[in-house]
Symmetry: D3
């Protein structure tokens, strides 16, 4: 699902701890994430909201990207984060939008580097 991104993530996690990586791969991804009943885009939007709540910048960026790959538009991402405001207050949501801005700046920089 995460295609090349997933590969890179699991490699980075294995560098931190092989068992941690295995738990994330086997339990978080292959068991929980693969459950039917919610479409992938909805799952990724929920993940973004949860990570805004936890204040986990790295993982939030990963799932903002994951949500885009699952078909979420930029507007849907923004709506998801704005929807968090009444529940979480502004500071957590401002921090989440900073991650989105960061992600978009990186994506723009990457595209600018690529030859036509």
């Amino acid at each position: 699902m995460f295609s090349s991104q997933e590969e890179r993530i699991l490699q980075r996690l294995a560098g931190l701890d092989p068992d941690l990586m295995a738990y994330i791969r086997d339990f978080a991804y292959d068991t929980v994430y693969e459950r039917p009943g919610l479409d992938l885009k909805t799952k990724e939007l929920i993940a973004c909201a949860l990570l805004a709540s936890l204040g986990s910048p790295g993982e939030l960026k990963t799932h903002l990207r994951g949500a885009m790959q699952a078909g979420a538009t930029e507007q849907e991402l923004r709506e998801t984060l704005l929807f968090c405001v009444p529940y979480l207050g502004f500071p957590r949501v401002v921090a989440a939008f900073s991650q989105l801005a960061d992600l978009q700046a990186r994506q723009a920089a990457k595209q600018a580097q690529q030859p036509e």
Copy 2:
């Protein structure tokens, strides 16, 4: 949107503080909640995940009911809560499922009371 439920909620909030009620009605419901871009069911599922994260039992029950009224099936509610496990750990999710069980017990009791 929340129809009769909303009325009752706002009345209870007004009993706590009229300005708090007005902020929730005008900002949370009429401004943020009414935004287009995400369908109502997705919004309610995100709300349930956020409230599981915050550990707010009363509001969680309100939004589990709200999600059902927005068309979410029981399975979709369960999937949303199970999806929270890798992000929040088990204690928050067990507490959230207790709210769901409680809500379902109440709904069953209400139906049992009603004459056919």
Copy 3:
């Protein structure tokens, strides 16, 4: 400072754990709380905001009462809790107002019992 209330609180804490009580009395109350530089009412309002943030209902009620004893009006308590909304979101603040309602109901019941 908390006069009769403090006595009762420390007794209840000693029932939980004598060392915990001693730490709260010696460090929290006699060392930190007694510092000059902020007036007592401001301290109690800050305590109420922090306890709304932590979601600690029992302690919040104690400090709502403490704030009143330190001279805070009901309006100042309400303003402090409403001020928390943009930082904490609505669920924590609704829970805090429930504690205030509870405290006021108890105080009213006590007054109703007293002979003129």
Copy 4:
């Protein structure tokens, strides 16, 4: 490990959601909990500290009991909770000691009921 207590816990969890129960049994208990490298008592004390931090009263009581069954003395439980004070502040720790008091009251009541 939790012997009869575990059986009861898993049954209650299955009543909430069979898949949630299966994840807790297979991932939390059989995979993570069963890892070698830390003795059972140390694990249970860490669990108590984490649940004091999360503010999860039900699970905390379960693990206070679990720690006792793993050989922790009452003093070790109290030391673990007191040790949390500098990290978590007093409100979370007071709430945790309330759970311990509750557990001890129940255990005393049970013993008083049993014939000699």
Copy 5:
């Protein structure tokens, strides 16, 4: 109220998301912040305590500066943060004092650059 600082903050927020900026300006600042009943300095000190609790470094720095502009002395800021210790524990408060140190270092650097 925040004068030139507010202008800069709102501009940065508009860069993140125009609607987020509008909500902060219209709801957080113009509606909640402008309420009478608490003086501005007290509000800013409460904001600092809440942001220490949330662990939001950027917003905390903004409101430490805002508190100074509202007339809070350095000592009052320090008292507010020290007062948080019994509620939040040391790690959150140490992080908050790091933001204060950072802010003061920047202000000193700015003053050193200015010609007499």
Copy 6:
């Protein structure tokens, strides 16, 4: 106990605020930390779990180092962090392992610099 590390930590804290330093030294270290009843290694492992829960990267690194100095093996540190997964979910634990990786990279760099 923390030997040279403690000296450095207290100096850094005194630079933030002398009273904050004194509270940490007198209350956190000399009063709570020095209590008998739990061995030092267990205390440090509990501290690491609590700091993973709080998401306090700087303090976590300090206590990962402190746990090693108290005799914890690298495996015991890893087990402690993995044990947190069912309670806290993955994002907090991934962040904690990043601190461990960072600490180990620094320690390796230091050793590489030292002449034989």
